[in-house]
């Protein structure tokens, strides 16, 4: 019983992480129709910047995490401007931007290696101490992640549904010309979507930097998981993406408990292939 509850809590932590990562991917997909392969690298940038500000400059983890979030958002806007926007009206936009965002990932990872070196780094926990959830002890920092993730998701959802600025991102994703004729600046909407998504990745990285080690390639595993999540949930619907994130988190936690760390990725990818074969629009995808 205890093991079961511990697995549930561990799934909740993983789910929160994946929800934050995949909601950003989903936002960029619904607005620009682009899959951003540099999303994981942006997460890594958030963690490194947070570490530098907090530990090297000594400004503390809160300022560090905020700086990491902002820095990743800014780099996201730059990536959109330089590597995505030139290909908007290209017929092969999806394929080209897959390559250019992969290039961005390589540049960011190598750049981080040059700037910060290979030595493992870690951020101090935002909140010290431990918390009991369902009889399982986890760090208060992980508990914060569990609480923060749904709050951020709800804020993001409210933004895209309740505010005109947020609605404009959905509008641009569905019909660019019609959006433009209502006075919506399409390139601004694209940059905003990319920036918010990258900032979310940076925030996730900065929060993860106290749980895992900060390395130049720390983003690739969460990106892979986020890809599985968006395939599971279907791209384009924030609610379905978030639901799939927690589902994958729980499945992963139970697979690790039952099968061990080694076989878990195999089973997850097998699940992804099965979903692609039988429910190509996602488990929750309608159309």
């Amino acid at each position: 019983m205890d093991a079961l509850l511990a697995t549930l809590v561990s799934g909740l932590v993983l789910g929160s992480l994946y929800a934050l990562m995949s909601s950003g991917l989903s936002l960029v997909w619904t607005t620009l129709g682009v899959f951003n392969f540099s999303h994981g690298a942006l997460m890594m940038v958030g963690a490194f910047v947070a570490w530098t500000i907090s530990e090297v400059l000594g400004l503390g983890p809160v300022v560090g995490i905020l700086s990491g979030t902002l820095a990743a958002g800014l780099i996201g806007v730059i990536i959109e401007r330089l590597l995505v926007r030139p290909f908007y009206n290209n017929r092969n936009m999806l394929l080209i931007t897959a390559m250019t965002t992969l290039a961005a990932m390589v540049i960011l990872e190598r750049g981080a290696q040059m700037i910060w070196g290979a030595r493992l780094k870690q951020l101090p926990r935002l909140v010290p101490g431990e918390v009991q959830i369902l009889g399982t002890t986890i760090s208060a920092h992980e508990a914060l992640l569990i609480v923060l993730a749904p709050l951020i998701l709800v804020a993001l959802w409210r933004f895209t549904v309740m505010t005109n600025r947020g609605r404009s991102l959905r509008a641009v994703g569905q019909n660019q010309d019609s959006a433009a004729l209502l006075g919506i600046d399409v390139p601004v909407a694209f940059a905003l979507a990319f920036g918010i998504s990258a900032a979310l990745a940076g925030l996730t990285g900065a929060l993860l930097g106290s749980i895992r080690f900060i390395t130049p390639t720390m983003g690739s595993e969460p990106l892979t998981k986020a890809m599985i999540v968006v395939i599971f949930g279907g791209l384009g619907n924030l609610g379905a993406t978030a639901g799939a994130a927690y589902l994958i988190g729980f499945i992963e936690a139970f697979l690790i408990f039952g099968l061990g760390l080694y076989w878990t990725p195999f089973v997850l990818f097998l699940l992804m292939i099965l979903v692609l074969l039988f429910r190509p629009n996602g488990v929750f995808g309608g159309k």
């Binding site: 609605r167 569905q174 010309d177 004729l181 006075g183 919506i184 600046d185």
Partner: protein, 241 residues
């Protein structure tokens, strides 16, 4: 008379194919105009060029005395020049109410949003009944109403409607024509693209016939052509009996 919109020598097209060949039209203050002529001869292209979706290769567009030839759509909309495009599908996964609220996007439109959304619901009661329905579930006529409703939410100082009754049943066409006439009566000048010349004459002061990207004839309601002449305009002298 002051010119509200003044277009001279406009050339535009898609890539290598030129659609507008030095077209000139204008609207004076206080009047509405209609555009007609065969399909594929540049009427929709003209509206797209005015609203900034297409960039002209030559010529000039002035709105209310300001040159807007190379302005992008957000600036054109902010100036109050609003274009409801043909067969507009808008945003399928967005509800009617939020689409209308979103349409008041420019700063000027936002200030009037609360009043205007009520006006749109009065003008199109069907939209008021379907506020929470997704746009993709609407019928052709309802989509057209939503499209015009959105254009009204943009706080138009000049409203361009591209075939607003295309493909609708006679009954729906009448309903929409009535709504458009009401909009016109509130003092919003119109540019209406339609195939139905009689309908255009009832709604606007002057008509331009557009062929091969040029104005080939100008008609005012005062010297309106009869049905037979309209036929001749469309099909040439042999086509009319």
């Amino acid at each position: 008379m002051r010119r509200l919109l003044d277009i001279t020598g406009l050339r535009a097209g898609y890539g290598a194919s030129r659609v507008l060949n030095g077209l000139s039209v204008h609207i004076d203050e206080g009047e509405s105009i209609g555009l007609f002529g065969p399909n594929g001869h540049g009427k929709s292209t003209l509206l797209k060029t005015i609203s900034g979706l297409l960039r002209p290769t030559a010529g000039s567009i002035a709105f209310d005395g300001n040159d807007i030839t190379t302005q992008r759509p957000p600036a054109v909309v902010a100036a109050g020049l609003i274009h409801a495009p043909q067969g507009n599908t808008l945003f399928g996964n967005m509800r009617i109410a939020e689409t209308l609220e979103l349409a008041a996007f420019s700063k000027r439109a936002k200030a009037e949003a609360t009043r205007r959304i009520e006006e749109v619901y009065v003008l199109f009661p069907r939209l008021a009944e379907r506020k929470q329905q997704f746009a993709r579930t609407l019928s052709g006529g309802e989509r057209q109403m939503l499209s015009i409703g959105c254009a009204l939410m943009c706080a138009p100082r000049l409203l361009m409607l591209d075939e607003p009754t295309l493909g609708l049943s006679p009954k729906l066409k009448e309903e929409l024509a009535g709504a458009i006439a009401k909009i016109s009566k509130t003092g919003v000048p119109l540019i209406v693209v339609e195939q139905d010349v009689e309908f255009l004459l009832s709604l606007t002061d002057r008509l331009y016939m557009i062929e091969h990207g040029e104005v080939v004839r100008e008609i005012s309601s005062a010297n309106a052509p009869d049905h037979e002449e309209v036929m001749r305009l469309y099909f040439g002298a042999e086509g009319a009996h």
